[in-house]
Subunit: 235 residues, 2 copies
DNA sequence: CGCCGCGTTGAACTCTCTCAACGTGTGTGG
DNA sequence: CCACACACGTTGAGAGAGTTCAACGCGGCG
């Protein structure tokens, strides 16, 4: 009983372990034990090292991937060669749903930022779950709908807010998400800049200005303390 | 058989008409005749005059709306009072799905641009169809996934392309959609500017520059002829 | 027929990007 | 374990693109 890749050492033990993992995935919340078990039997768990590309533009990527631990960055390269970070995924999130829903070559890239545990599901299997288990489809609708809302807000922010406004909103958003006013940036400042549609230089200047105003405090290259959230909310 | 406005005047005739209407909606493609009939019996058709607001930010909007004819503009007002056009809907499109999927106050506005025939579905009913008819949920997933892709591209375009590039891409996109190099803008130039994240002044200047280059020809306030699509594709 | 909003044009301003140089830290290989 | 290298991050100065403000012509809806 020892298989090669990572996770699944033992027979029943590993399977039970895998079921527990699958049961924790929000996408599969609300399924019965049997249904979870069925899915777990077809899932391929894997430990992916840091900085590994999961797929790139042009790839036909046949898997829905679910992140158990770690972080994944999804980005796109524009025609002008400019890198645009689309979103950052963490525990419980999934990616690759587009390939499941409407198979076609991917137009973006996905890379791990930390060592990550990721489960892969063949898209034929996933399709069958979507059609057989309405709650899975419904949860996926919830997720896509929420993601669409976020992306639409991003569009508004790009044109409606200036650099300072976007940076401030981003920091306040992180504080809300973590329920803390001191936190580590989930991605490098370079990537934050890309996500906000700014150059690294501009981001650096805005952060420096916020610090001069006494609104934030920067520590090391990732830690941020928000000292005056109200001031930041007012842009 | 003369009904006032398509709606619910007569008995069977009107119902059969309504079924034919529902059967044409992409969202309900693939359903059996009985299922279509069930949905048709719960649908509320309505003719909406031009420039009528369907719902606004803050409203709790309990309907999924399906557009049979006409055009609807969906937009958002940013904190700074800036209007941002999110998308423009036409025949076969639906809106209000967010209220169905995760009920909450709307954060955007929807207005008719032409007189439009629009069917409303109570969100409890729609929820039940989503859970009972997997193909409906799947089609909705397809739609949301495609819309998400479009919106993500919009984000990239906002930061990766300059004004000329966005205007050119928009014009070429319309030509592709209509399969014609001469067409009418679906919305006012003011709204086009908002959609592209520009001021009306900048849009006007870019269009004038394209016309000077002999790439396009403007006629009246809405008609556009593309004279050199290749030049436009190269930005 | 009149009016309001759309669209256009002009000129000045401001914000961000670009280019460049320098400091830092992180990961790697000797 | 240390040294080096490369990518990240910061700071400065300059240029360019889009916005803003203002005025005016035009057209469509009431």
């Amino acid at each position: 009983m020892d298989h090669h890749h990572g996770c699944e050492s033992g027979g029943d033990g590993a399977h039970a372990e895998l079921e527990a993992l699958v049961a924790k995935v929000p996408l599969f919340a609300g399924l019965t034990h049997e249904q979870i078990s069925e899915i777990a039997s077809r899932v391929r768990p894997r430990v992916v090292p840091r900085n590994q590309q999961l797929y790139g533009a042009g790839d036909i990527n046949p898997y829905l991937r679910i992140i158990h631990t770690g972080t994944v960055k999804v980005y796109r390269i524009t025609e002008s060669g400019h890198e645009q970070v689309i979103r950052v995924l963490g525990s419980g999130d999934f990616l690759g749903e587009k390939a499941v829903i409407s198979p076609s070559a991917s137009d973006h890239f996905a890379v791990t930022l930390d060592e990550s545990e990721i489960c892969s599901l063949d898209h034929e299997d996933m399709r069958s779950y979507l059609l057989r288990y309405p709650s899975v489809a419904f949860t996926m609708l919830e997720t896509l709908s929420a993601r669409l809302g976020t992306t639409e807000e991003q569009v508004s922010a790009m044109t409606g807010e200036d650099a300072a406004g976007r940076v401030a909103a981003y920091l306040v958003g992180l504080a809300d998400e973590y329920h803390r006013s001191s936190f580590l940036l989930p991605i490098s400042k370079k990537d934050v800049a890309s996500y906000l549609g700014l150059t690294p230089e501009t981001l650096s200047r805005r952060l420096a200005a916020f610090e001069d105003n006494g609104w934030i405090h920067l520590h090391g290259s990732r830690r941020v303390d928000l000292l005056d959230i109200e001031a930041l909310r007012l842009v």
